[in-house]
């Protein structure tokens, strides 16, 4: 007869005693770490958002979620056992949610789980497909003993050396003295073994929920004009700036979603080259974007999403800080290039790029201004390392060579051309099958224009055709 039944029989609550926790779960002590690891074998390691979504579900059972790998989660559940009763209760709570999420991600709803007093052991067991619960540290040695050495999270060279010594399972290592193991195979292995046995703590990156600013505003009166939209956007931006200050962050990308009365949405993306957290700057960029946008109907609500955050590092904030961010007080207007790109579009502004190639079209090209080097006063201009003789190529280049007319066997551009300098032979791209064989000349016409022309040697060798073998490539402006 149990103590409680006996107490009830004797007719009094005074005889009832509180049941100690150890009565139900004699092995689990809530003041010692207890690790629950989950391994998702079908998770794409390259898609970080997936593991983030699963980790956020796990956060519903414990605040201490760690990320030992992009396909594994480790949760310290010592504080959650009292609520869920046991690791099994916790697992039963999580399973439907995790399976639903995996189905949403179009993945097989399968995962392995292991729980033990050691984080490394739980992770190792889960990764090797052992769904097991080890309640006591004493049980770790026997449970882990059957695992092959190849599964250990240590350097490949160490595993090879262990295998060459005839040590294939963990139980082989348990038999050896730890001091001898350390001496022979290094500290990395001996420390890892100690972590597996829960003798020392495992260091793992803790998972933090990704920061997202996601607010919307729905005014009573619909926004009819760009100024109405800007007024609403200002309120959202002020909230965002407060959010950024609170988290000591800054951003270079904002996403506005304007929903009209017919529930049609219009997206407006704002970018800056350098991170900014001044509402006035973003507002000015939005104003310029709105000048281009066509808003056919009244706007019912405005949604502002910001998920791309960077640490706020003003100049001199940290010695290792290489990217220069302006302090808030310095920045009240957007940078010129951001201003121009907001009005003209990102695709309308370029930086000039050069690469070492004999083909002039490839050697000089434009690239999107966002990918341009950030200017520093000490930065030197890239110079050709003897690849291009001085003054041989013009500053203005035609996008593609233009054939020149021939008159009296002379190339003509507005008037017959006089060859001033040349030829300079260029032969390249033979490995592509579209080889270039050209003789370049500097020519001058009657108007005083100085041109960079070439004679296509491949075409000139062809039997007489109507096509000209002279082309205009650039202008010496």
């Amino acid at each position: 007869m149990s103590a409680n039944k006996r107490a009830l029989k004797q007719g009094g609550a005074p005889f009832l005693k509180a049941i100690p926790l150890s009565f139900n779960k004699p092995a689990l002590l809530t003041n010692k770490p207890f690790w629950y690891a989950l391994h998702f074998p079908f998770l794409n390691r390259h898609v970080h958002t997936h593991v983030d979504e699963l980790a956020s579900i796990c956060q519903s059972v414990s605040d201490h979620v760690y990320l030992p790998g992009q396909d594994t989660l480790a949760i310290d559940i010592r504080g959650s056992l009292r609520l869920f009763g046991s690791p099994r209760g916790l697992s039963r709570t999580l399973r439907p949610k995790l399976e639903d999420k995996l189905r949403q991600l179009e993945l097989a709803p399968l995962y392995t789980e292991a729980a033990s007093p050691s984080a490394s052991a739980s992770v190792l067991l889960a990764r090797t497909g052992h769904t097991v619960l080890i309640q006591q540290r004493d049980g770790l040695r026997s449970e882990l003993g059957g695992l092959a050495i190849e599964f250990l999270a240590v350097d490949k060279a160490i595993k090879k050396r262990l295998a060459s010594c005839g040590l294939h399972y963990l139980r082989d290592l348990w038999r050896l003295p730890s001091a001898a193991l350390r001496l022979r195979f290094g500290r990395e292995l001996s420390d890892y073994l100690s972590q597996l046995l829960g003798e020392i703590n495992t260091s793992m990156p803790r998972w933090h929920e990704p920061l997202v600013f996601n607010r919307s505003i729905s005014p009573d009166a619909h926004a009819e004009t760009p100024s109405d939209i800007l007024w609403l956007a200002r309120q959202l931006l002020e909230q965002m700036v407060t959010f950024l200050h609170q988290h000591h962050k800054t951003t270079d990308h904002l996403h506005f979603e304007l929903t009209d009365i017919t529930l049609q949405s219009q997206i407006i993306e704002l970018h800056t080259r350098k991170p900014v957290r001044e509402a006035a700057v973003w507002l000015m960029l939005l104003e310029l974007k709105l000048q281009k946008a066509v808003i056919a109907r009244s706007i019912k609500s405005i949604h502002l999403i910001c998920s791309n955050f960077l640490d706020y590092l003003p100049e001199g904030a940290h010695p290792s800080c290489k990217t220069v961010q302006l302090t808030d007080s310095d920045k009240t207007t957007p940078a010129l290039l951001e201003l121009l790109s907001a009005r003209l579009g990102k695709e309308a502004i370029f930086s000039i790029h050069q690469q070492e190639d004999h083909d002039p079209v490839i050697a000089g090209h434009y690239q999107a201004y966002e990918h341009a080097y950030t200017f520093r006063s000490h930065a030197k201009s890239p110079r050709s390392r003897g690849f291009l003789p001085a003054g041989t190529q013009p500053c203005l280049l035609l996008p593609a060579p233009v054939p020149l007319a021939i008159r009296q066997q002379k190339p003509v551009y507005l008037s017959p051309l006089l060859l001033v300098r040349g030829p300079e032979r260029l032969e390249t791209r033979w490995w592509t099958g579209q080889d270039i064989q050209r003789d370049y000349y500097v020519a001058r016409n009657m108007q005083g224009m100085r041109l960079w022309i070439f004679r296509d040697l491949k075409r000139s060798r062809e039997p007489a055709t109507a096509k000209s073998c002279w082309f205009l490539q650039g202008l010496f402006a």
Binding site: A335, L336, L337, L339, L340, R343, L344, A348, I349, F350, S351, I352, H353, Q354, P360, A363, G364, H365, Y366, Y369, A372, Y373, F375, S377, A379, K380, S381, P382, R383, S384, F387, L388, A390, G391, Q393, P394, C395, L396, L397, L398, P399, V420, R444, Q447, G448, M449, R450, L451, G474, L475, F476, A477
Partner: protein, 257 residues
């Protein structure tokens, strides 16, 4: 009488006598008098009452002198051109109009020393609607820092290009703006000139036709010239108009390379 008959026969002596009688008659003489007389040593508060008897515009002199002080200029890198331009070089800020009927006669070569200088400063260089693609290796070989240069290509609509020119000129982030437009009216140029003054930026506008009564700081017309006997390229430069100066002239410049 201070002077004898013989002394007064000389024109210089007559002038000295007049100046002695009316100290503020000639503004150019005031400093000389100020150093020696009581008037020059008096405070500014008393000066207007004294000047009513002499030169009415004397109090304006410091202001005018300040206004007429030469604007800062940058050497063009060509001594002949420096001599032609008022102030001895390109203006440090403002609008320079370069008119040439034909492209590729050496208009960029003329600006190359300035481009080299400006491109190595913290402010960026903005090329707006150049007629053809800028060739990075050639610019870099000429010493221009292409890392600091940004381009708005020729396909850009005219109104967008003009808006960009104005914003770039107003911005302190931009050290120099080079823009190509076939022709711009006087009102547009005035607006751009004001933007350049506001941002203290140098803008260079390349045209094909001159704008009459242009409010630009400097208006130059370029023309092709025959090469020198030793094969050097030449360019004809005519100064049509310069702000604050009546100077006009024409030179023929030998370009390097």
């Amino acid at each position: 009488m201070l002077f004898t008959e013989n002394q007064l026969n000389k024109p210089q002596d007559k002038l000295k006598q007049l100046l002695a009688e009316t100290p503020g008659l000639w503004r150019g003489n005031q400093r000389e008098h100020g150093q020696n007389s009581q008037v020059g040593r008096q405070s500014n508060a008393l000066r207007p009452s004294i000047q009513t008897s002499g030169d009415l515009f004397a109090d304006q002199e410091p202001i005018m002198a300040r206004e007429q002080s030469p604007a800062p200029t940058l050497s063009t890198g060509f001594s002949d051109l420096d001599q032609l331009l008022p102030g001895g070089g390109w203006p440090a800020s403002g609008l320079v109009e370069i008119i040439s009927r034909h492209k590729a006669i050496g208009e960029l070569q003329l600006l190359m020393p300035l481009l080299r200088l400006r491109s190595h400063q913290p402010q960026s260089l903005l090329w707006i609607t150049p007629p053809y693609k800028l060739h990075g290796p050639a610019l870099a070989e000429s010493g221009v820092n292409i890392r600091n240069s940004f381009v708005i290509p020729a396909q850009t609509r005219c109104n967008h290009a003009l808006w960009s020119i104005e914003k770039a000129l107003q911005s302190t982030e931009c050290g120099m703006v080079l823009a190509w437009q076939n022709w711009l009216g006087g009102r547009v140029i005035r607006r751009l000139q004001m933007a350049a003054c506001e941002g203290k930026t140098l803008g260079v506008l390349f045209h094909q036709r001159p704008t009459p009564h242009s409010p630009a700081t400097v208006q130059l017309e370029l023309s092709a010239a025959p090469d020198t006997d030793d094969g050097y390229r030449q360019i004809g430069i005519r100064l049509l108009r310069a702000k604050g100066s009546h100077r006009q002239g024409e030179i023929r410049l030998r370009l390097p390379g």
